[in-house]
């Protein structure tokens, strides 16, 4: 954007007319003032003569005035009267333009009264005469003398002296003369004038820093400045100088001094009005003190001159263009270059408020939007861009605005919107400089959508089309290379490896040193991997490493090589490749993948030494890596395998204690579990150790020829003392060593609960876990404990508390592997609250956002429950059947799915079908009493509904005959139900019930009596 020119004409050049008028008035005042101060008045003739002289002076008759004053002088006045008449006479000659006589009397006045009250005034007048008669050096010296006095006049003399020095090419001396006037800061008219004069001199000399300091002070005292426009001009001049030197911050301080024209004018008008009031007040005061007539008159005359001067400045100022606009534009530019975007926005907004110029408005609207966009503030940027387009749909920035809107949406991850925006502009035939970029970005938005959402994979095809369009329209465009790369990349993502490889090979030919050549080589190898050509993959990976050693993709290539060897069942080679990949990987995901794949390969080879060494090295190299605690787990496991359980336990405990207070270390619970498990069992000698140890004595002594010999009888071993797992655990970890933080305490309880579980004390385990749920607030717990506590809350029917745990898990551990438990749990919470729609969303999120794996069965079952609650029976049935038929999920969830299928059929009125599902539950899933007992009860209810109380009674009796089920609190309901049924006649004979378990039932239930 170009900046409008700044008018910096100096207003002071138009003062000459005012000066002439002032000259006359000054001399008039000099005389009247002198007359008034001529001392005691009496009836003597000299006074009459003096008055006559004053009257002549007032009428402009200076000859007559001089004659009268000479007469007074001839009377021989002395003292103050003499000083006054000499000064008055000198002033009269000055006005008469009789400069020699004027100088003579001023000089005499000073000579006879060297300390007189008129000394400074006389010196100033003499210096002016000397200046007017071309004696500048003398004038300067005289002014210097005048400035040595005290009071305002001496200071004004000092200013005049400085002015002369500056004009005669002595700026440093001028500044030295003015300097003392601002020592105490800018606090009155004179110090403000001195400061302004110094600023002007310094800025002309290029001493911008000195000028800047003073201008800062002047801004604070701007109401003292007679000529505000001059302040603005100086500020802009210095600001431009600083901006030219690249000193933007300093320049900005200068530009900030400039005030809008209207503000300056209002200020000036107020000052003018204030003088009116002062004059009126002075005049009113005369009524009380008429004798002060001359003084008041003089004061008012001075005030009127000041007012006139202010008025003149104002009138000239009004004719000038406003300086605010060009200054604000400079400010906006400087802030923008400093990347201070918020400041840029404030400046443009101020212009929006103050300027009526539509061009400025257009610039402002666009610049504000652009600043928001550059800060990535999409929510502010998009409305600002829309506002621009609404006001200037065909404006000069319309195309840029469209581009920015798309780019901002793309940046914000709103790819669909970005696609629409770029698509719209391209379809309008936008041909400006950004059209090529928009074509490329349009394809990128489609690529990004396909990559983000598997359901939008078709967008890859659209992206290919648009990349191709880009290449055909702009074959040499700046994105030609990337488009050539992205086309096969899309095919790759679509699984079309044939086309993909063709495209990548084409890229490699065209751009053998291209930006993406490394990635292309890797992907070609991936294509071979997809085609199961593992030897080719290994060959290509080796070639890649030779050609691109040390490049970004090396870790990926080595990992791929590991995959290929794995497919060929070459565990040692595979492990080696993965290990090498770990050394190069920078990406966390890849690092973890290669590390744990290498671990898997080593386990296949039973190389626990390598496992320990690998994880130990990883811990050393990446001590802060989130996988470190998991590595500790594997090192400890290796130690156990190596027959060093004590060492393993100590190692585990040491690492647990290092991390027990860190909420973000998910794997601490894994270590605690490992320690508990290890402590739960009495240590046994190492398998590896025994394998590697010398053969046992008896084996070595056993000769093959002794095979027929009967074994030597051995004494029974001495029974070992009972093993105390808790005591063993306490040797490594205890509450006192774990610390007092809530998290450490909770984790300790978790560990003890695990230990209780491993030592078959399930009640104790439940009790400890429940105590965590009860005693610790959600915001103190780790991800694992939050997940566990959420489940406990759900089991106890406390949906609110469950929600608190799960939401804390989602908020504080957004990247946790346990996130799926939170989403699944929230789905269950919603089900408990009978909010099936909400539940479905959570279950979908569990799959889409948390890639549910461990909870997939629960999630799927939950979706079925939600659909059932919504009355969508067919959809629900499909899901329950899927759960019930998935072999990998077989267990309690299968029983629940069957149970739900029964409920579903009941809701449909298919009671018989429902009974069959209930019976399948208690036939096949007796291990799950929490599901089986309700299944018995529901089956009984269904029989009663079908008016088959005998069948109902039979099922209930069957249930109650099983001690484990009969002992459950849930069995009470079954008992009551059975008691309520009509008494059955005792029948002999074989049970004919359809109950497939009837053969195992202890006693056949009697058939109900029929009415």
């Amino acid at each position: 954007m170009s900046q409008p020119p700044l008018n910096v004409d100096n207003l002071s050049s138009s003062f000459s007319r005012v000066v002439s008028l002032l000259c006359f008035l000054l001399l008039f005042l000099l005389v009247t003032g002198a007359a008034n101060s001529a001392g005691p008045q009496n009836e003597a003739t000299p006074e009459d003569t003096f008055k006559a002289g004053a009257a002549a002076f007032q009428s402009g008759n200076f000859d007559e005035a001089a004659k009268n004053f000479q007469s007074v002088l001839a009377e021989g006045p002395t003292g103050e009267a003499l000083e006054t008449i000499l000064f008055t006479l000198a002033s009269t000659y000055f006005n008469q333009k009789n400069l020699p006589r004027a100088e003579e009397y001023y000089t005499r006045c000073i000579k006879e009264f060297p300390d007189g009250k008129n000394k400074t005034k006389a010196l100033i007048a003499i210096s002016q005469i000397q200046n007017q008669t071309g004696r500048k050096a003398e004038a300067e010296a005289t002014l210097k003398k005048a400035s040595e006095g005290t009071g305002d006049l001496a200071l004004r003399a000092r200013m005049a002296q400085a002015s002369m020095l500056a004009e005669s090419g002595k700026p440093a001396e001028a500044v030295a003369v003015l300097g003392p006037m601002i020592v105490g800061g800018v606090k009155d008219d004179l110090s403000a004038q001195a400061a302004m004069a110094i600023v002007e001199i310094q800025s002309k000399q290029g001493n911008l820093d000195e000028a800047l300091k003073l201008l800062d002070q002047l801004q604070s005292a701007s109401d003292l400045i007679d000529n505000p426009l001059q302040l603005d001009i100086l500020s802009v001049r210095i600001g431009d100088g600083l901006l030219g030197k690249g000193e933007r911050e300093k320049a900005l301080r200068m530009y900030a001094i400039v005030r809008p024209k209207q503000v300056v004018m209002d200020l000036q008008k107020k000052r003018i009005e204030k003088i009116d009031k002062m004059i009126a007040d002075n005049t009113a005061g005369l009524q009380k003190n008429p004798k002060a007539f001359m003084e008041v008159n003089a004061t008012n005359a001075r005030l009127k001159q000041d007012q006139k001067q202010l008025q003149t400045v104002l009138e000239q100022f009004e004719k000038l263009p406003d300086t605010e606009l060009p200054v604000r534009l400079r400010q906006a530019k400087a802030y923008d270059e400093l990347e201070q975007k918020w400041e840029t926005i404030l400046i443009w907004e101020s212009l929006l408020d103050s300027s009526k110029d539509p061009k400025i408005r257009e610039d402002a609207l666009f610049s504000i939007a652009a600043a928001y966009c550059s800060m990535g503030r999409v929510d502010d940027g998009l409305p600002a861009l829309d506002r621009y387009l609404a006001e200037y749909p065909a404006g000069k920035y319309a195309s840029q605005t469209g581009y920015l809107k798309g780019a901002v949406s793309l940046e914000a991850g709103d790819f669909s919107r970005a696609e629409t925006l770029f698509g719209e502009r391209i379809s309008r035939g936008d041909t400006n400089a950004l059209a090529a970029d928009m074509q490329f970005l349009l394809a990128n938005t489609q690529f990004a959508q396909a990559a983000a959402d598997p359901e939008k994979r078709a967008k890859y095809t659209e992206a290919i089309g648009n990349y191709k369009t880009y290449l055909s329209k702009y074959p040499n465009g700046k994105f030609a290379e990337e488009s050539t790369y992205r086309i096969p990349l899309c095919s790759f993502q679509l699984g079309d490896y044939g086309k993909s490889m063709e495209g990548f090979q084409d890229y490699a030919k065209k751009f053998p040193k291209g930006t993406f050549i490394g990635d292309v080589g890797y992907r070609i190898a991936l294509c071979y991997q997809a085609a199961n050509k593992y030897d080719d993959v290994i060959r290509l990976c080796n070639e890649w490493v030779k050609q691109h050693e040390g490049e970004l993709m090396q870790a990926e290539v080595l990992s791929l090589k590991g995959d290929a060897y794995d497919k060929k069942d070459m565990a040692a080679e595979s492990a080696a490749a993965y290990r090498e990949s770990v050394n190069f990987a920078e990406n966390d995901d890849l690092l973890k993948y290669s590390l744990f794949q290498a671990n898997t390969q080593y386990q296949k080879l039973n190389r626990w030494d390598d496992i320990a060494e690998m994880f130990n090295r990883f811990i050393e190299r990446h001590p802060k890596h989130p996988a470190v605690v998991a590595c500790v787990y594997w090192v400890s496991k290796a130690k156990i395998k190596q027959g060093k359980p004590e060492e393993a336990k100590k190692y585990l405990a040491d690492n647990i204690l290092k991390n027990i207070g860190d909420r973000q270390q998910d794997a601490v619970e894994q270590l605690l579990t490992q320690l508990s498990q290890t402590c739960a069992k009495r240590p046994r000698p190492s398998l590896i150790a025994s394998q590697n140890a010398s053969p046992p004595q008896e084996s070595s002594s056993k000769a093959p020829d002794d095979a027929s010999a009967s074994p030597t009888p051995r004494p029974s071993p001495t029974p070992l003392p009972p093993y105390d797992a808790d005591a063993d655990f306490a040797k490594y970890l205890s509450e006192s060593s774990a610390g007092n933080t809530p998290l450490a305490k909770a984790r300790m309880r978790f560990a003890l609960a695990q230990l209780a579980g491993y030592t078959k004390r399930q009640d104790r385990q439940k009790e400890l876990m429940a105590s965590i749920y009860k005693d610790f607030p959600a915001d103190q717990l780790s991800a694992m404990l939050l997940s566990e506590c959420g489940q406990i809350a759900l089991e106890r029917g406390d949906a609110d508390k469950a929600e608190a745990f799960f939401k804390e898990l989602m908020t504080s551990f957004p990247k946790s592997d346990l996130l799926e438990y939170a989403y699944c749990g929230m789905g269950q919470v919603s089900l408990a609250r009978n909010q099936p729609e909400e539940a479905l969303k959570w279950f979908d999120d569990a799959v889409n956002k948390a890639s549910a794996d461990a909870t997939l069965a629960q999630v799927t079952y939950g979706k079925g429950k939600a659909l059932l609650a919504q009355g969508k029976f067919d959809e629900a049935k499909k899901i329950f059947e899927q759960v019930a038929s998935t072999k990998d999920w077989r267990g309690e969830i299968t029983a629940k799915a069957l149970m739900s299928l029964g409920e579903l059929e009941e809701k449909r009125g298919e009671t018989d079908a429902a009974i069959q599902y209930y019976q399948r539950v208690f036939v096949a899933y007796q291990r799950y009493p929490a599901v089986v007992i309700p299944a018995y009860i529901k089956a009984a209810d269904a029989f009663i509904k079908l008016n088959k109380p005998e069948d109902a009674a039979k099922d209930l009796k069957d249930m109650l005959s099983k001690p484990r089920l009969a002992a459950s609190p849930l069995a009470e309901e079954a008992r009551k139900k059975l008691d309520a049924l009509p008494v059955q006649p005792v029948q002999s004979g074989t049970e004919t019930s359809q109950n497939p378990q009837s053969t195992s039932a202890p006693a056949p239930a009697p058939s109900p009596s029929k009415p």
Binding site: F15, L153, D216, E343
Partner: protein, 277 residues
Amino acid sequence: MSARSLTHMILLCGVALLVGILRAEDITTSDGQTFTNSTIRRSGELLMIKVTMEGSTSSVEMGLPLARIVKVSFAEPAELAKALSAATKGNSAEVLTLTRDYVSKEAAMKDVPGSWWPEMARIRLMALAASGKDVDCADLARQIGTIKSAGADSLSRAGTLFASLATGDLQAVIVGAKALPRLNGDQGSALAQLAMGRALLLKKDYVGALRAFLTIKVFYPSTALLQPAVLAGAAESYVGLKDEKRSAQCYAQIVQEWPDSPQAPEAKKKAGSLSQP
């Protein structure tokens, strides 16, 4: 300076001839009377002047209504220049030390024409606001409000907003601050923006707070005393907006440009912590 301006200056010198040279203790009334070497004291709306009679060693005290006084030539307090110098460095603590006694002892003369009290009080007010001494700031603002001038009125209105800030009446701060011109105002406007920025920060309206703070930085850069507080407020706002880079820049700017300010030690710590990855 041109020859014309020199002439003009000399003529202006002449204009002042009749006024006479006032000494530090001189008093000028609106009817042109001057009293020299006077000892003064304040009594209600009167300024009591002790005048030594001509040709006598005895003195009399007379009362002059304040309305009649054009100017009293008070001697400039020695602390003023030092306080102004400290203010340019954003050194609020030193400003508060230098202005405390004067503002407290000379308050009686605050509305006497020519008094240095308004200037000393103005600097002190800014320093109080910049130091977070909200209650003291509001108290002083109320005193300034008794002076009849546009500048004093604006400063007083802005300064009293800090009372509401101290009591947590944030809405009152915001409404009060908006009643003063945001742009093209005086130092009162800058002060009001500071109060508003702090109020909005407490309300977690980070964008609003940032805009208020930066308004002072952009449009009132000469209010040196406020600048460190403004930068600290902007830095906090940036943190709220998750823009740690700009926040760190603000803290670094405080450390670099306003090392004597009360915000500097904390800024140094925060700049360090924010610059760490």
